[in-house]
């Protein structure tokens, strides 16, 4: 069984509107999956629902993490199990520095892993890891003392999301349109960073509209997502086909044409 398994998963908004209409997907450690789809297909809603956003309800099917049903768990508990979401639009937390936020988050995860006992990361270790990861992602040092996402450029926000992933070391990371708003140099750094973070301890689900990021992330599996469903699956070649032909072939209108 894969670490993250979705079986016939349905997601609806609070008003009952169904956005995700039955998804089967399995993501395991060491794997990179790309979920590609046009705007408005429900990709981000799926990501929010998996992370536990209260406005996106799982109404049917199963969401299993390490064999455990996570539908009833809060976002914090899901994070503590090792699930991570890199946000498309990360929120600003004025007055809280990147450093202080990361240390609190890391300590919350360590506490959960230690069965509820305090296990704070030693400060020198944290500092070394943070500075190394920042350098690797070409994040200027001064950003560490700025308030989280407050006044950050789009590119800075995305890099800091990956910085969080690097330090919090999730087992499954969902990356929601991490490529949007990045120029080609930034895209390369971020995508390469993601690629390097995936390994025996980590798997990833990369949600994107464009094939561009996949040149650097190099997915093992590609899933085409249209109107709340996976309509086609394959290897990396599928992404290239999509880039060349567009999503029309997979939309209901396209199929009829």
């Amino acid at each position: 069984m894969a670490l993250l398994e979705l079986k016939d998963l349905h997601v609806a908004l609070e008003d009952g509107t169904e956005i995700v209409k039955g998804v089967d997907l399995a993501v395991d450690l060491g794997e990179i999956h790309a979920l590609m789809g046009p705007n408005g297909s429900g990709k981000s809603s799926l990501a929010y629902a998996l992370m536990g956003h209260p406005a996106y309800q799982i109404t049917e099917g199963e969401a299993l993490f390490d064999g455990r049903e996570i539908t009833e768990l809060g976002a914090d508990e899901r994070a503590q199990l090792g699930l991570f979401l890199a946000f498309q639009y990360p929120h600003a937390i004025p007055g809280v520095t990147v450093t202080s936020f990361l240390r609190s988050a890391l300590n919350a995860l360590r506490k959960a892993r230690a069965g509820g006992e305090e296990d704070p990361v030693p400060v020198p270790e944290f500092r070394n890891d943070l500075l190394a990861a920042m350098e690797h992602l070409k994040i200027p040092r001064e950003l560490a003392q700025r308030y989280l996402n407050d006044g950050f450029s789009g590119g800075e926000k995305k890099r800091v999301e990956i910085l969080q992933m690097a330090l919090l070391k999730p087992r499954i990371a969902i990356l929601d349109e991490t490529d949007s708003g990045l120029d080609i140099d930034a895209l390369k750094i971020v995508a390469t960073g993601v690629k390097e973070l995936v390994g025996p301890e980590t798997g990833a689900l990369v949600i994107t509209h464009y094939q561009r990021i996949l040149n650097y992330v190099e997915p093992d599996f590609v899933h085409v997502f249209v109107d709340g469903r996976i309509v086609e699956e394959g290897g990396p070649e599928l992404a290239h086909k999509l880039e060349a032909e567009g999503y029309e072939a997979f939309t209901p209108e396209g199929a009829e044409a």
Partner: protein
């Protein structure tokens, strides 16, 4: 005080950590209620000069003649006849913690005061009920002529200096509660910093109420002479009782030309204390006065630290935090009065309300005719944590001079579900995530605090938050 991060987190879950009380084994305790006989008895007990006895008795008349303020919070619940106005816990003041009765010493240990004194304070005064039971100043400051005494000792040992300034910044009939304090005051601090002397580490006073229905009326007078500097910090806590206590202090500060005074308060009374305090400073030429005023506890607080900018180039700042939780009403803010030309002031207020609590900003900015070239900026931000809570802003502005530069900004925000989700998706619990947003909201003020107090503030915020979303 100085807590490690582990201790901070370990403290989460205790609603109010300081609600314990000691058995009463007092040297002297007055009966309940207020009368001219009681006021005279306090003065006699303290062996005061005649002028002070008369000052007290006159003040009592003013208190009795004035009605309760009809604005601010609901004061009708105060039963003035049920309060103990004077309790002297020990016969003598100690200058070693070991000399205190074990219960009282134990309380200070629990509050972390002796430890803080060792680590980062230049002097400590510890008031328990009506009297300062422990007092000490570092010897090198004493030899530079710095005076740091409890107010009663100040009056005994430096009567002329006290007489010159006492009641001049806040007249005895300034308001009903200033009149009450003037009648029954006891304890508080008397500080004098000689010209050019800079007191690099903070002086701290800590105020503890222990008895039920206690009235604590400390009186503080700080004189910072030319070019001198001092940072004074006060903290306060009380036991949790089902009936109310009253804390009504008066603080007067004089900052002479080129001097600078910072006065920091971390108010954490239990939720059965009425906290009605008058604080006012005057700043002369090129002097700086800063009030850092954090209010987290009490049933009702009404407190608006004021700065009168009397000399050209004087600068004043008020940084105010009010955090009103369940059954709390915090009416706080600040006042800046520009009397001289080219004076400047900044008032920054952060109000937080949750669990049906109420936090208000009430401020006054006044620029007198002739105070040309004065500048002022008032920023008040409110953060409301749930639908049941309330925040109000009452900014009064009176400008009688046209050549001035005045700015006023106000924002109100609600804690966002999206912000909480973002933080929780990183593994923080809802309480931890909310506390982080609130700590960030008040950060412009906590960053002004010495590290130990900033840590303490954040810990108190976490404790406040735990009540709502635990």
């Amino acid at each position: 005080m100085a807590l490690t991060e582990t201790e901070i987190v370990a403290g989460i879950g205790n609603e109010y950590k300081y609600g314990f009380h000691d058995p009463e084994d007092y040297f002297f305790k007055s009966g309940r209620g207020l009368s001219a006989e009681l006021v005279a008895a306090i003065s006699e007990h303290k062996n005061e000069p005649d002028w002070m006895r008369k000052f007290r008795l006159k003040s009592l008349e003013y208190f009795q003649a004035r009605p309760l303020p009809a604005w601010g919070g609901d004061l009708t619940g105060i039963d003035f006849e049920n309060i103990f106005y004077y309790i002297r816990p020990t016969e003598k003041q100690a200058n070693s913690w070991e000399d205190l009765p074990p219960d009282i010493k134990n309380t200070w240990d629990k509050l972390g005061i002796p430890e803080a004194e060792k680590k980062y304070l230049a002097g400590v005064g510890a008031q328990y009920e009506s009297e300062v039971v422990y007092h000490k100043l570092k010897e090198d400051l004493e030899s530079q002529g710095v005076l740091f005494l409890d107010m009663d000792s100040g009056l005994r040992e430096h009567e002329e200096l006290v007489k010159e300034y006492f009641g001049t910044i806040i007249p005895q009939n300034d308001n009903k509660f200033a009149a009450l304090n003037s009648a029954v005051w006891s304890g508080g601090s008397f500080i004098y910093v000689p010209p050019g002397v800079s007191v690099d580490m903070p002086l701290q006073a800590y105020f503890r109420i222990n008895a039920e229905n206690m009235g604590q009326f400390e009186r503080t007078l700080i004189i910072v002479d030319e070019g001198a500097y001092v940072h004074y910090v006060e903290g306060c806590t009380a036991p949790v009782y089902s009936s109310d206590s009253l804390h009504s202090a008066v603080v007067e500060i004089i900052v002479k030309p080129g001097g600078r005074c910072r006065y920091t308060t971390i108010q954490n009374w239990s939720n059965n204390v009425y906290n009605l305090v008058t604080k006012r400073a005057v700043a002369y030429e090129n002097a700086t006065m800063e009030w850092v005023d954090a209010n987290l506890g009490s049933k009702l607080t009404m407190k608006y630290p004021a700065i009168w900018l009397m000399g050209e180039g004087a600068h004043g700042e008020v940084l105010s935090i009010a955090f009103g939780g369940k059954d709390q009403h915090l009416d706080a803010g600040g006042k800046a009065v520009h009397v001289a030309p080219h004076t400047s002031s900044i008032i920054t207020s952060k109000s937080i309300s949750k669990d049906g609590g109420r936090a208000s900003y009430r401020g006054l900015l006044e620029v007198a005719k002739g105070a040309v070239g004065s500048k002022s900026k008032v920023v008040c931000d409110a953060l409301i944590l749930d639908e049941d809570s309330r925040s109000d802003t009452y900014p009064y502005i009176r400008i009688d001079e046209s050549q001035v530069d005045i700015g006023h900004e106000a924002t109100v925000s609600k804690i966002g579900e999206e912000q909480l989700f973002y933080l929780m998706s990183r593994g923080l619990s809802e309480a931890e995530a909310s506390a982080m947003v609130v700590s960030g909201f008040v950060e412009p003020i906590t960053k002004e605090l010495p590290l130990e107090y900033a840590v303490e503030m954040n810990r108190l915020i976490q404790l406040q938050m735990e009540g709502s979303v635990g």
